[in-house]
C-alpha cells in the first residue's frame, strides 16, 4: 500500500484548514487524475478543490510541476495549490 505526503498551499490550505497530511492510497490511485478523483469523494470542500469543476488546480509531484497523467507511488510528496501569484 502506497503512502504519500500531501501538501496544500495558498487558498486551499485555508479552505481545508490543512497544510499537510500523510495518506495511504488505495491501490487504484496511481496517478494525479486518480488522486484528484479519490480526494473529491471526501466531502464538498475537497470536491471543490480536486473536482473536475476546478480546472485551475495545480499539482506538483516530488516538487516538480505535474499534470493529470503524472504517476504517484509510495513515498511521493504531492502538493495541491491554486495558480501561483509570486513575483
Amino acid at each position: 500500500m502506497a503512502r504519500i505526503r500531501l501538501l496544500l498551499f495558498g487558498r486551499y490550505q485555508d479552505d481545508l484548514d490543512l497544510a499537510q497530511a500523510e495518506l495511504e492510497l488505495p491501490d487504484r490511485v496511481t496517478d494525479v487524475a486518480r488522486l484528484r478523483e479519490w480526494l473529491s469523494a471526501r466531502d464538498a470542500a475537497w470536491e471543490g478543490i480536486c473536482g473536475a469543476a476546478n480546472p485551475r488546480l495545480m499539482t506538483a509531484v516530488n516538487q516538480q510541476m505535474a499534470d493529470a497523467t503524472t504517476p504517484i507511488g509510495d513515498g511521493d510528496e504531492v502538493a495541491l495549490f491554486p495558480p501561483v501569484t509570486g513575483g
Binding site: 501538501l7 495558498g10 487558498r11 485551475r56 516538487q63 510541476m65 495549490f81 491554486p82 501569484t85 509570486g86
Partner: protein, 151 residues
C-alpha cells in the same frame, strides 16, 4: 554569476547588482526588475502582504526558470532574489537582474524570468485589507505574458 535566493530578509539592490557583474568586463549591460508591494489592489487599500511559498520546491522551480533563460539567450549572469513572509506596502518583493553582452538579450531574459516567476514558481500572496485578509488571485494578464514565450 548565477544566483537564486529565497529569503525573509530584505536585500540591497545596489550590492546585488555590484556582485552580479563584478569581475565581468564582458557584460555590456544589466536589465533589472524589482517588484514592490503596492498599497492598493483591485481598488482596495492593502495594509500588508504575506508571501507563502513551498520550501524545497521553490528553489528548484526558480533555478529551472533561470536555466531555461540561459538556454534561450546568451546571458552572462543572472540573479533572482525572492522574499517570503510578511511584507508592508513599499517593501521589495523580488529582484531579477540579467547581464549580457547586448541590452536586447538582457531585457528579454529578465522579462522572461519575471513572467515565468509569476506563473510557474510556487509563491502565493495573501493581502491584508480593511475588510480582512484575502488570497490574491492569479491575473489573466500574467498567463498571457508567459504565453508570449512559447512558440
Amino acid at each position: 554569476m548565477f544566483t537564486v535566493r529565497i529569503q525573509q530578509d530584505d536585500f540591497d539592490p545596489g550590492a546585488e547588482l555590484e556582485r552580479l557583474h563584478r569581475g565581468d568586463l564582458g557584460a555590456g549591460g544589466i536589465a533589472t526588475f524589482i517588484g514592490l508591494v503596492r498599497d492598493l489592489n483591485l481598488g482596495d487599500r492593502v495594509q500588508g502582504l504575506t508571501l507563502q511559498h513551498y520550501p524545497g520546491m521553490t528553489e528548484k522551480a526558480v533555478n529551472a526558470i533561470v536555466d531555461e533563460a540561459r538556454q534561450r539567450w546568451p546571458i552572462q549572469g543572472a540573479l533572482v532574489v525572492h522574499r517570503v513572509g510578511p511584507l508592508a506596502p513599499g517593501d521589495r518583493i523580488v529582484m531579477v537582474a540579467v547581464s549580457a553582452v547586448h541590452r536586447g538579450e538582457s531585457f528579454a531574459a529578465c522579462e522572461f524570468i519575471m513572467d515565468y516567476l509569476k506563473t510557474r514558481a510556487p509563491f502565493w500572496k495573501k493581502e491584508q485589507t480593511p475588510d480582512g485578509p484575502r488570497w490574491v488571485e492569479a491575473r489573466d494578464g500574467d498567463q498571457a505574458a508567459a504565453k508570449r514565450w512559447v512558440d
